[in-house]
Each structure stands twice: as C-alpha cells, then as structure tokens.
C-alpha cells in the first residue's frame, strides 16, 4: 500500500514458502486430536475415578497439565504459526526471511511438545499453571521463540510493503509479550536435571504466575487469533474489515490494558488488596475494546451474511467471534470481586475457559484450516458436507460442555457458601457438593466426545484433500514493487495532526519498541510495589522453613499434581473459615518456592489440613481414597508406598532452597538427608503404632504425609515451640 507518488517502480518477483504452512497445519490437527483426547480422558476421570487406571502416569494430576499444555501450546500454538506464516508473507509481500529458521522453528516446537508429552506424565513439572514444563524445556522454548521472532522480524525487514497491516501488529505484540512473560515467570534455581524451584516465593510467586497466566491467555490465545481474524475473515468474506480505525483502537487498548489484569485471579487471597483492585479495574476496562473487536468482526460481514449460510468457513468464524464476545464479557464479570467470591475455585472458571478455548480459539482454527486446505494442497476441499457436519456437531458439543459446567460451577459455589437456619454450613461435608456434580460431569464427557468427533471429521477432510492434491505442489511466482522509501518526518505540527502514528505503522522497530514499553511499564507498575513494599508480606515469627522431609513431600505433591484439585488458600469469607479454619496470611507463604495456592477445588482446601487427621488416615487415603471417603473421586496413589524416596534429591532440594534465601542452617543443608531419615523413621513408627503397615520410612508416602501434616500448623504453634523449630532443633514435628 505505497503512498501515491512514492511508489518505487522496480518490480521484483518472489515465491512464498507454503511448505512450512502445510507442516504447521498438519501438526495443528494431529496435536489437536491428542490434546482433546486427553481432555476427554480427564473428563471421564472426574466422572468416575476408575478411569485413572491406578497407574502413576495416567492419573488426573499428571494428565491435566498435559491436556492444557497440549491444547494451548501444541494445538493453538501450531495453529498460530500456520496463520502467521501464511498471512505474514502475503501481507509483507515477501518470502519468510530464512527457510532454515522456519524449519528449526517447526521441528524445535514439535520436539518441545514431545518432551512435554513425555515429562508431564512422568511427574516432572514445576507446578505453575500453563508453565508446568521444567527448566530444560523452558530454555528450549525460549530459543525456539527467538528463532521464530528473528524470522518474522527478518521478513518484516525485507518486506515490499511499507505499511504494516494491523494483523502484523497483533503478531508483533505476541512475539514481544510472550518472550517477556515466559522468561520472567520461569526464573528458577536448578536443583537437578529435571527439578527447579521458582526464585519467587508465596505472594510474589502467585502474582508473577498470574501475571503470566492471564497474559498467556491475552498474548497467546487472543492477540495472534485477532491478527488472524483481521486477515482471514476479510479473505473469506471477500470484503475489507468493517473499520480499520476500530481495529487500531482494538489493538492499542488491548496492549495497554491486558497486562494489568492478572491479579483478578487472586481476589480475596493473601495478595494485597491494592493489587487486586487494580487487576479488577483494568479487567472491567477490557470489556469495551474486546467488544469493539467483536463488533468489527461481525460487521465485516455486512452485505455478506448470505454467504454464511453456504460457507462452513464463515460459519466457524461467526461463531468464533460470537464466543469471543461472550468470553470477553464474562471475563470482566468474573473479575468483579463479589462475583469472583462465588466463582473462584469452582467449575464456573472451567466453563469460562472452555467457552473461549473451544468456541473462540477452536472455531477460529477450524475456519482458517478449511479456508487454507484447498489453497495449500491445491485441490478442492474433499467434502464440504463433512465440514458442515463438523460445524454443527462441534457447536452442539460446546453447548453441552459449557451449559453442564456452568451449572456445575454455580452449584458448587452456592453449596459451599450455603448456611442452614442455625447459621451453620448447610453442606459441611465437602463430598456432598462433589456428588451433586457427577451427572453434569457425564454431560461434559458427552460434549467433549462430540467436539472431538468433529475434530476427527476435520482431520479426515484434511487428509483426503491432501491425498487428492498434486504429487508436487506448484509454486506460483508473485510480483510486487520493491519497498517504497519512508515518507519524510512530519514538520512542526505533525504531532498535532497525528502523522506520528502513520509513520510508526511503517517503522517496525519503533513500533515494536513502543509495544514493549507498553507491556513493560504496565507490568512494572504492579511488580515493583509488589516486590518492594515490605508491608505486603508481614512476617510471622512462628513461620519457619519446611524440614528436609517435608520439602521432599512437597516435591511429591507437585509431581503428582495435587494442586490441580486442591487449593491451599483460605479466603477471609465466613463460609470458608467455618469449613477450613483461619484464613490464610501472606506471611505463611514466605518459604513457598513455588506457591501452591491452586485455582480449583475439585477436592477440599488443604491449607490447614495439618493435624486434622492421624498419619494413618493419610496412608489409607492415598492407598485408596474410597476407604476413607466412600464417594471420593480422587485417584488412588498406591505407588507412593512402594516408591523409594530419593535421598540425594532431598539434599539437592534443601541446598537449592538455601540458595534462594530460605534460612536453613549450614548444618541443616549438610545433613539434610540425615534429618529427613530421622523424621521419616518417627512418622513410619507412628503409622505402624496406629495399626498401619510397617517399613514405610524409605518411601515417598512418608514424605508426603510429613508435608500434609505440616500444612497450616505454624501459626497454631506457641511461639516457644516455633522458635525452637526455627533454630534447627526441630527436625521432626
């Protein structure tokens, strides 16, 4: 879109690299099937624990992160790269800068996905949601992301189109923001080849995690898909976007506002109230730009609605954009503190996430895939009717899923906070609330099966279209004038006439720097006070570091993914303090690297479970949860009583925590293994005396019991006992 009078008349010919787009598209479909299949499996596990199969690597706590990582980074990630590689080349009128980097990006990303699929079921994870992968894989992600970014910016540098279309802006914001988020949320101290501890603790770690978690949704599941919407929707509808001006506002308001909103994931927790309020305020502000984008998308179809009835691509896009609107209305709603008090920890959040993931992300991907298939594989779409069937079956699947889980979430929230006429909890036994949800969980399974059936149809359609394509793909030659020179800088008064923004749109480096500044400044506004204000985390004298054995138990808690179902955060809400005990204080978590507050309560909160039951109860509960709670849906963990505890890992763990500033004495660090063995003997002896199995002192189970029995007990100790524990005298309990 060279300006009149500035066009450089030297014409250049070039060929796009569509082979890389084909690779990413096929990977999208393959990983989508895997990720959604794991989703159906874990949905089954919640409906009936028998589907955990009694095996470590198929239990819910290990598979749930595999599901989220597979659908986010494998399915949506490969889809993003499909859309970016196709549209970037065409919008910039240039082949990708480096074919080698494109291939490095593709194979590197697939290797990362395979590494995730192997390590997560093995219990290798660092517990942070959507950032579970351990440090070697995190390093690989950073390197591959750099390769991708260099390739995109290299393509921008050699472009033949001066103006950067708004889709490219959205892609740039993704490249910049994801790099910042990934690096700073994954700063760790290494404690082994596959073990690390977050450098942040407790409140600060929670803040950093949800700064990352929320903005992963923003800059991985929203901005790149909006870029794809602004490119593929006009292509499919064969008409320009309704308002390019609105798209610019959409872009800048999202970039300015999204980054602030993370703390709304931590309302009423031990996070300081000012951060919580800030997060809520900016979340509510997000509603308008998001709806501006939705309206812009839907109005692009003005005069083309008749095409929607005939074209499955447009059907998918229309429903996707509608779900974008619904999700971005519901997100701000959920961020309001009083609403969040009801919704947090319930399935309402899960319904919200899946409305966005299945409706917005999934349908954008399917619309794009069906539009690309004939163009990439140079053959007619194998079956338009199958694509139509995919659309309807998947739509019904989403509706069944979200209606059932919205109902489950509301049921949970209302039952947890219900009081009887005497002022006591109406449902004091947590399992009562769980049992109510089981029928809804079966409806979710049905919805998931329908959705994945549609995905199978899509895969079949893609394979058959691929098969009917030519043996060797044609590579059409394109032609465009070389890059026009930049317009001269505006004279005085240019700012007043807003010529600066027009210049930025042709200056990718300046543009990217300003995007980075917007993201970093907004982040620092929250991060700096969070880390520097001492009053944010008042210290509690009675709180001391975990013993070496408790720390080892904590590592097992993380490896088994217990935090996927159990929170460790009692909010200052009457229904919670009556059910679980005194509300959680920020100072209780100062040695928690990483924090384990969790985000859902499939099972009850564990913040004060320490001392609530005898050791033997925990042993029986882990062997078979139904033996202590007949209707429990928790998986059994029989292997914990058989798996020897790795004493060398205990020593490395204490040393790493000491490096992070946890005040272990040099003697405790040197003799961590000995102290752990001593405490393990005491607990194993107590279990045997209570009538339980003998000889557990060498097993992982005894470490997990030690950790669970410690939870929430520090602030109940008399100060003299606490001081003795802190001075290193109390290796045991």
């Amino acid at each position: 879109m060279a300006s009149p009078g500035m066009r450089n008349e030297r014409m250049e010919q070039f060929v796009y690299d569509d082979a890389i787009v084909r690779l990413f598209l096929l990977a999208t479909l393959a990983w989508g099937l895997v990720g959604m299949l794991v989703g159906v499996v874990i949905a089954l596990q919640l409906a009936s624990p028998v589907f955990n199969l009694g095996l470590p690597w198929t239990s819910f706590g290990r598979l749930r992160p595999l599901h989220t990582n597979a659908v986010i980074f494998a399915f949506a990630g490969n889809a993003i790269f499909t859309g970016v590689y196709y549209s970037t080349q065409r919008l910039l009128k240039a082949r990708m800068w480096s074919d080698a980097l494109s291939r490095l990006h593709f194979w590197g990303w697939q290797a990362i996905i395979v590494a995730a699929a192997l390590t997560l079921p093995l219990g290798i994870n660092q517990s942070k949601e959507y950032a579970e992968l351990e440090w070697p894989i995190d390093v690989a992600i950073a390197l591959v992301w750099v390769a991708f970014s260099v390739n995109v910016f290299g393509t921008i540098a050699k472009r033949r189109e001066r103006h950067l279309y708004v889709a490219i802006w959205f892609y740039i914001s993704t490249l910049v923001a994801i790099a910042i988020l990934h690096i700073f949320n994954n700063l760790v101290v290494v404690a082994g080849p596959f073990k690390s501890y977050s450098i942040y603790a407790g409140v600060q770690d929670a803040f950093m995690q949800w700064w990352y978690g929320h903005n992963a949704v923003a800059f991985f599941l929203t901005t790149p898909f909006l870029g794809m919407m602004y490119y593929f929707l006009p292509k499919a509808a064969d008409r320009p976007v309704f308002s390019y001006r609105l798209s610019i506002l959409h872009f800048w308001t999202l970039v300015f506002i999204y980054i602030w909103a993370g703390p709304h994931h931590l309302h009423y927790t031990a996070l300081p109230a000012w951060a919580s309020t800030l997060g809520m305020l900016f979340s509510v502000m997000l509603w308008m730009p998001s709806w501006g984008g939705m309206v812009n998308g839907l109005l692009t179809l003005r005069g083309a609605w008749h095409k929607v009835t005939e074209d499955p691509v447009l059907k998918f896009f229309v429903v996707a954009i509608t779900f974008y609107g619904m999700s971005t209305f519901e997100g701000p709603l959920l961020s309001i503190k009083s609403v969040n008090a009801l919704s947090h920890y319930t399935d309402w959040t899960i319904a919200h996430v899946h409305a966005g993931a299945l409706g917005w992300v999934g349908f954008m991907v399917f619309g794009m895939v069906y539009w690309l298939l004939p163009r990439l594989f140079q053959a007619e779409l194998w079956s338009k009717r199958l694509a139509e069937l995919h659309f309807w079956i998947a739509t019904v699947g989403i509706l069944l899923y979200v209606v059932a889980i919205y109902a489950a979430g509301l049921t949970q929230g209302l039952m947890w906070r219900a009081f009887d006429e005497t002022g006591r909890l109406a449902y004091p036994d947590f399992i009562e609330t769980t049992m109510r949800l089981i029928p809804m969980y079966w409806v979710r399974v049905l919805g998931g099966v329908l959705y994945i059936t549609g995905m199978v149809f899509c895969g079949l359609n893609a394979l058959m279209t691929w098969r009917s394509g030519p043996a060797r793909y044609a590579e059409p030659v394109h032609e465009a004038p070389s890059l026009a020179p930049m317009a001269p800088a505006p004279a005085a008064g240019g700012f007043r006439h807003a010529a600066w923004h027009r210049r930025w749109e042709g200056l990718p480096v300046t543009f990217s720097v300003w995007v980075g500044v917007a993201v970093v400044v907004a982040s620092l506004f929250e991060i700096v006070p969070m880390f520097l204000i001492g009053s944010n985390v008042p210290t509690i004298r009675a709180v001391h570091p975990y013993t070496p054995l408790e720390l080892a138990g904590r590592d097992i808690y993380v490896a088994e993914g217990c935090n996927n179902c159990h929170s460790q955060m009692i909010r200052p809400i009457r229904a919670e303090t009556m059910r679980y005990g005194e509300y959680s204080k920020p100072g209780e978590f100062v040695y928690d690297h990483p924090f384990l507050w969790g985000s859902r309560r499939i099972g009850p909160d564990l913040a004060r479970v320490g001392g609530k039951y005898p050791d033997l109860w925990h042993v029986r509960h882990m062997e078979d949860p139904r033996s202590t709670t007949p209707q429990s849906i928790m998986p059994a963990y029989p292997w914990l009583a058989r798996t020897p505890l790795k004493w060398s890992a205990v020593e490395r763990g204490v040393a790493a925590q000491s490096t992070l500033g946890v005040p272990y004495t040099p003697e405790q660090v040197r003799n961590a293994g000995g102290l752990a063995r001593e405490q393990a003997k005491q607990i194993a002896g107590a279990i045997a005396r209570q009538g339980g199995p003998a000889g557990l002192e060498e097993t992982e189970l005894v470490a997990l019991v030690a950790y669970l029995q410690r939870l929430g007990t520090d602030i109940k100790k008399p100060s003299s006992v606490a001081a003795a524990a802190g001075s290193g005298e109390g290796a045991g309990r």
Partner: protein, 64 residues
C-alpha cells in the same frame, strides 16, 4: 534505610487511579490520531491490504 522501607511508607492506594489516568490518556491520544479526518483515506487503503496480496504473475509451466 532500605528501599523497601521507603516503598512501604508510600501510599499505593492511589496507584489504581494514577494507572487509570495514564491508560485513559493513552487511549484518547490514539483515538484522536485514528479519527482525524485526514487519516481516513490511508486507513481505507490499509483495510484493503488482505484482499490485494495474492497477485500471481506466473505459474509453473508458464513461459517466463
């Protein structure tokens, strides 16, 4: 006195309002830039970019 002490003594209740003012100011600035009448034509042309990006001049088999 440490930096943390200084920060702790500050009143951050105003932070949300200050941030809000900055965000609104940024929003108004961009809105003015976008809706100035003189920018109408460039934006109209920009909106057409996805529809004009696939000009094939030669397919394999065509004579160069």
């Amino acid at each position: 006195m440490k930096l943390a002490d200084v920060m702790s003594a500050m009143h951050f209740d105003l932070l949300a309002q200050v941030a809000l003012v900055i965000a609104v100011a940024g929003f108004v600035t961009v809105m003015v830039a976008v809706f100035l009448a003189r920018n109408r034509e460039p934006f109209r042309r920009a909106a057409l970019m996805p529809l004009a990006d696939d000009t094939v001049v030669r397919r394999p088999g065509d004579r160069a």
